[in-house]
Symmetry: C2
Subunit: 158 residues, 2 copies
DNA sequence: TTGTTTGTTCAGTATTGACCGAACAAACAG
DNA sequence: CTGTTTGTTCGGTCAATACTGAACAAACAA
């Protein structure tokens, strides 16, 4: 298989996984492409050419990726076109976004508890466990992210 | 608003959040319903009646929830109908499933690194960081789950 | 100004999948 | 065995949305 074909295939795999976490397929494709592209910064036409998707799709998907903080636009001196590339430390950003879901689940549990405020304890137990569980992770995952930062900067010191 | 209406509304909210994490809306509705129902175990008709969804939808959604390990079927002695209820320790199960995505992302990175095996280090750096990041969480989140178990059983000792 | 390059918006299409009702199957009661 | 209750499967409909091409806008060059 051609190299371009392999790259496209990889981008497709990334897209599938992105879809699993609720993001659009094209956004995933582009992100996957930007993970392996050489150079790391690519123009819209590079992406259109590389992935065989329409310019309009790339336009909306990149906007989404930029708003999400996963990709950044950059202009090179003397260049008219915009370039796109994966931002530094994407994965922390990405993980923090997933954290929002953790928080949302905790709030959901609290909403339910409020609704069942006048109900007996056994009935509220299910929601209490839910709330406590997510409150725990809401606190601990940021701590993990910090530890990751530590580990990484430690490794880079060599 | 009637109580039933409030409950339905809560179930709807749960459904929306379930959708965010890639599960079907009806499954989320049913799960939300089972979180607050009294008693905790409900028949199919209870759910059909409570949520105003078709029996067929409930059938496929409960099957899915059972396969996922979030809900269990139980038969009561002398009762002909099946009952459904949220399993003990759902949230650990749920979190472990999300862990599969973490693992999938790590594998994806490794697939990419394999593909770029003959490429210069700078080009592989993006994928290496991705792999290391997810490998880190793949190791640390189970540890967190264990700690949660500890904390919980500690709290229950009173 | 006029023409060219680059990127965005919009309307239409097509695909996906959730949902329902009805037909069907299985288990049980009489 | 016959009828009733309970649950599953299937076909069709509907809604949501991803994607495209084409029209449009904006920035720049000549």
């Amino acid at each position: 298989m051609s190299t371009a074909g392999e790259y496209r295939h990889f981008a497709e795999d990334v897209a599938l996984h992105f879809e699993q976490v609720g993001l659009s397929r094209t956004a995933g494709r582009i992100f996957g492409w930007l993970l392996i592209s050489d150079p790391p910064h690519q123009t819209m036409d590079d992406v259109v050419e590389g992935l065989k998707v329409s310019k309009s799709s790339v336009s909306v998907a990149t906007r989404f990726l930029i708003e999400s903080g996963l990709v950044q636009r950059l202009s090179l001196p003397g260049e008219r076109r915009d370039y796109y590339c994966v931002v530094e430390g994407v994965w922390q950003t990405f993980m923090r976004q997933q954290m929002n879901q953790v928080k949302a689940f905790r709030k959901l549990a609290e909403q339910g508890l409020k609704m069942l405020a006048d109900q007996p304890a056994e009935r509220r137990n299910r929601l209490r466990e839910m709330r406590d569980f997510y409150a725990f992770f809401e606190e601990e995952i940021p701590a993990l992210l910090d530890r990751w930062e530590m580990v990484k900067s430690e490794a880079e010191k060599d």
